[in-house]
């Protein structure tokens, strides 16, 4: 099980992969938006999106858990 963490503070711009979806290593799961910059947050290993901890539009801090990949 791996936790997907925010690499910067900002808002959740887009959720690219939904709960239950199987994902490959390096696949974008969530795109964060902050200060006119979009940062995709990708899975670090293949698996299934077990849980999404955020919704689109939510504000997150650096290090917050965004999703759990199993």
């Amino acid at each position: 099980m791996a936790e997907l963490k925010a690499s910067m503070a900002g808002s959740v711009w887009k959720i690219v992969a939904g709960e239950g979806q199987s994902v490959t290593d390096g696949q974008d799961i969530i795109i964060l938006e902050s200060m006119k910059m979009e940062i995709p947050i990708a899975a670090e290993e293949a698996g299934t999106v077990k849980e999404l901890k955020v919704n689109e539009g939510d504000f997150v801090n650096e290090g917050d858990v965004l999703a759990v990949i199993e």
Partner: protein, 449 residues
């Protein structure tokens, strides 16, 4: 004459414009978002009005509301600053339709120069040298590959409506190009509402050198020398200086003459900047034109003694330029560093609350600030929170003063790129003027925070 101006912008540039207005005895109206209600620029203006929510669509891009406030407050003109609506031809037209002076060029010219493919065409006709490429939008990745083959790899893939490096990517071969084309086209469509892509030959180890111009409504135009802005991260400028230590007098003059010829050819009026790439052999190629005041305009002001905002307002008021090319001064050396609220290693944005601020003072030091102590740096806007401009009699003197100033500069509570700026300024390659656009990737390996 313009008596009252609304500044359709925020942060340091709003404060900058207000400062000149005060010197000229012009009243000012600031507009702001909810997130900016405590921002310094709001207090600097004579009057200030809330535009709406914090998102830019509700505030700084909210044309309807901005024009309503302009009408209610009885301003003569709108200064758009940079970014936001500054290069939006529709906004400039709406100002004109509302009987207001838009401080900038005519809407048609903004439109022409905003479309990079169109700008290339116009500038080619005006006799400017262009990076070898293709002056119309590419149909699809197959056409892109055929064009790239003809020009020869490596090439730069670019979005026609692009800016800030978005939709832009260097590709080394056909495989990379096919992979990059669709993604960048999609991003361009998403960001700019226009997915037109084009291709240019990649100029290797280039410098980014731009020419500042001023043109009035009577066909007079002058160039105010160059700025070198090669030190960049994420295709955005970090350090800017004037003059460039790389140019010789002859190249400088040729670039200036070419820029003036180009602005006359397109009927440009007001302040503008022509950006060029300059290769190792000092060949220069037109990149794009910015039809507005630039972030880095202070370094030009420092070496020429001119106030560019004042010049903009005078030209917009219908005045003639009151000096000739021969009368444009060039004295000393000036360097600006952009202070970003971001991680100095990854360049990721780092919004937050400032808990301490200490600014250097002394000869040749100028500040342009968007924040004060206890300011909240919001995630809604650009990460640039301040500019430090340091000048001296020579480049070495400016670098020495800048190094000392950066050692004193302190911002607590948020991450900033100050550690990166310090590393750049003390680097031997920077002192030598070995500043190509890959400077940070090439020389700055380790940032010690």
């Amino acid at each position: 004459m313009i008596r009252k101006i609304l500044i359709a912008n925020r942060g340091e540039i709003a404060s900058r414009v207000i400062r000149t207005c005060k010197n000229l005895g012009i009243s000012t109206v600031a507009v702001y978002s909810e997130a900016d209600s405590e921002a310094p620029f709001v207090g600097h203006a004579d009057e200030a009005y809330l535009l709406g929510g914090s998102r830019v669509q509700e505030s700084y891009l909210n044309v309807k509301k901005i024009l309503e406030i302009a009408k209610e407050t009885g301003v003569d003109a709108i200064h758009p600053g940079y970014g936001f609506l500054s290069e939006n031809a529709d906004f400039a037209r709406s100002c004109e339709d509302a009987g207001l002076i838009f401080i900038g060029p005519k809407p048609e010219v903004i439109q022409q120069m905003g479309n990079k493919v169109e700008a290339r065409k116009k500038m080619e006709q005006a006799g400017l040298p262009l990076v070898p490429g293709f002056s119309r939008p590419l149909i699809d990745s197959a056409e892109a590959a055929a064009v790239a083959e003809k020009i020869g790899y490596p090439v730069m893939l670019k979005a026609s409506a692009g800016g800030g490096g978005i939709g832009m990517q260097a590709v080394a071969n056909a495989d990379e190009l096919l992979k990059a084309f669709e993604g960048n086209q999609k991003r361009a469509q998403l960001f700019f509402g226009n997915g037109d892509m084009f291709i240019e030959k990649l100029i290797e180890k280039p410098r980014h050198i731009e020419i500042q111009v001023l043109a009035d409504g009577f066909g007079n135009a002058v160039y105010l020398w160059e700025r070198e802005c090669s030190v960049q991260r994420r295709h955005q400028k970090v350090v800017e200086e004037a003059p460039s230590s790389f140019l010789d007098e002859e190249t400088r003059k040729q670039m200036g003459i070419a820029a003036v010829k180009a602005v006359k050819a397109i009927g440009y009026c007001n302040a503008g900047t022509l950006e060029f790439l300059v290769d190792a052999d000092k060949n220069f190629y037109f990149l794009e034109m910015n039809t507005r005041l630039q972030v880095e305009h202070p370094v030009t002001e420092e070496i020429t003694g001119l106030d560019l905002v004042e010049q903009q307002i005078k030209i917009a008021s219908g005045n003639k330029l009151d000096f000739t090319q021969e009368e444009v001064k060039r004295e000393g050396h000036s360097i600006e560093v952009r202070i970003y609220a971001e991680d100095p290693k990854t360049f990721y944005p780092a919004p937050g609350k400032i808990s301490g601020l200490k600014l250097p003072e002394g000869e040749g030091i100028r500040h342009e600030l968007a924040v004060q102590n206890t300011s909240v740096v919001s995630h809604f806007y650009d990460p640039m929170i301040a500019k430090l401009v340091v000048s001296g009699g020579s480049r070495n003197e400016a670098i020495d003063r800048l190094r000392e100033a950066l050692n004193t500069y302190k911002i607590d509570g948020i991450k900033t790129n100050l550690p990166l700026l310090k590393e750049i300024i003390v680097h031997e390659a920077f002192s030598k003027g070995d500043t190509t656009t890959d400077f940070i990737d090439k020389y700055i390996k380790k940032i010690t925070v």
